[in-house]
Symmetry: C3
Subunit: 198 residues, 3 copies
Amino acid sequence: MLAADLVGVAVFAASGASAGVLKRLDLFGVAFVGFLAALGGGIVRDLVIGAVPPLAFADWRYAVTAVAASLGVFWFHPQLSRLRRPVLVLDAAGLGLFTVTGTLKALDAGVPAVGSCLIGMLTAIGGGLARDLLTGEIPVVLRREIYAVVALAGAIIVTILRGLGHASFWWLAAAALFITGVRLVALYRRWSAPVAAP
Amino acid sequence: MLAADLVGVAVFAASGASAGVLKRLDLFGVAFVGFLAALGGGIVRDLVIGAVPPLAFADWRYAVTAVAASLGVFWFHPQLSRLRRPVLVLDAAGLGLFTVTGTLKALDAGVPAVGSCLIGMLTAIGGGLARDLLTGEIPVVLRREIYAVVALAGAIIVTILRGLGHASFWWLAAAALFITGVRLVALYRRWSAPVAAP
Amino acid sequence: MLAADLVGVAVFAASGASAGVLKRLDLFGVAFVGFLAALGGGIVRDLVIGAVPPLAFADWRYAVTAVAASLGVFWFHPQLSRLRRPVLVLDAAGLGLFTVTGTLKALDAGVPAVGSCLIGMLTAIGGGLARDLLTGEIPVVLRREIYAVVALAGAIIVTILRGLGHASFWWLAAAALFITGVRLVALYRRWSAPVAAP
C-alpha cells in the first residue's frame, strides 16, 4: 500500500517538476513545485481532518520520493518527453489512489459523507492546483477535461462502499482501478466538461 | 441564523461563479471557484481556531448551497446580469454577516482581541481572495474600494460589544446591519482607499 | 529573543509592502501583503504543527509590528528606496532567524527531523511566496538566487545541533548568524542555482 502511495507521489511530483522546468525555474524551484504538486493535496487533507503534523512532514519517505522524482525530471527531462503516454497512465493511477486514500482518511476521522467526498477529491486535485498557482497559470483542472469530476465520482463510490461495510482491500482497489479507468477513457475520447454559453 | 448564513454562502458563491464564467472555466471550474469563494474564508477561520473539520466539510448544507448557487449562475448568467444591483446589496449583507460570525467564533475559541478582529476580517474577505487567485487576478480587495476596512471596523465593534457583555442577538444583528450599511454607502459614494504616491 | 523576532517581522513586512506599492495596491492592500509576507510563513508553520491559534493571531505585537512597518513603507517609500542595502542585510537576518525558530518549534512539537527541516525552511520562505502570489508574480524564490537552499541548509544544521544536545542560545545564535552570512555572500557573489537545460 505504501509502495503504491509513493508511486502516486512520484508521478505527481514529476508533473509539477515538468511545469517548473517549462517555466525556467531553477533547481530549487523545480524541486519545490514538485514537492507541493505531490504532497499539497495530502497536506490540505491532513490539516482539514486535524491530522497534524501532515504525513508529508511526519514520514520522510514522502518528501524524499517527491524531491528525488523532481530532480530526475530536472536532469533527464529531454529524455523523459518521450514518456508522455506512460506518465499520463501513471497520473490517472495517482488520481485513483489519492481519491480513495483521501476519502477513507476523512471518513475515518469522523467527517460526514458529503465533506469526506469533497476532501477525497481535494486530496487528488490539490497538488495540481498548487502546481498551477505557483507557476502563474489558471489551474488546468478548472478549465478543461474530465479530471476532478472523476475523482468526485470515485469519492462517492468509496463512501457508499464503506457505508455498506465493503471497505475491504479488494473493493477499494477496484474503486481506485475504476477511477483510473474512467480517467483514461476520458483522456482517450477527449471528453470535456461544458463551458457556459457566452 | 443558519438561514442568514446560507444566504451569505449563496451570494459569495454566485460572485465566484460569475468570475469563473467570465474566465471561460468549465462547469466543474465554475462550481469549484464558487465553492471556495463562499467557503474559503470560513475554512481558513476554522483551521486557524482549531475547529476541525471546518464547517464547510462538517455540515453538508454549506457545500450544497454553494454548489447550487454556482450552477444557477452557470446556467442562468445571461439573465442574472440584470440583477447586478441586488447582488451588490446581498454581497454587502454577506460581508456584514461573515464578519460578525467569524469574529465571534474566534473570540469564543479563546483568541485574543486583535487576533479575533483579524480572523473576522479574513472570514469575510478570504473567499474573494481565493476567487481572484484561482482566476489569475491580483485580488480586487487589495486594489480599490472600501471593503476589507469595513469588515475590520465591524470586527472591532463586535469585539468591543462582546467585551462590554452586549453580545446578544439584537446587538450583533445591529453590528452586521451597520457593516452592510457602511459598505453600501462606500459603494454608492465610490469611496476608495488611497494609493501610495509614485 | 522577541525583539529579534519582531525585527524579522518588520523587515519581511517591509518587503511585502514594497511589492504592494509597486503594484499600485491601495493602503489596505499594502498593509495586507505586508502582514502576510511577515507572518504567512509562521502561520503555515503553526497550522502544520498544530499550534492553534497561530502566534500571528495569539500575540498582538506581531500583527501590530507588521502593519506598522507596512504603513511606514506606504508613506515613506520614496525616501526608503535609498535604504536598499540595509534592507537586504536585515532580510538576510530575518531569513536566519525565521529558519532557526521555525525548525526548533517543529522539533519541539515532535515532528521528525526531515519534516522539521522542511517546516523550518517553509517558515522562512512562506511569507515571500505569499507576497509574490498575491501580487501576481511567479515566486522569485523559485526562479533565481540562493535563498531557500540557504534556509534548508540552516534548518539541517539546527536539527543536528539539537540532536547533539547543543541547542543552547549561543549555538542557535551562531546558526542564525551563519545562515545570514551565507545568504549575504550569495547575494554579493551573485550565486544562483542552475536552471534545467532546454
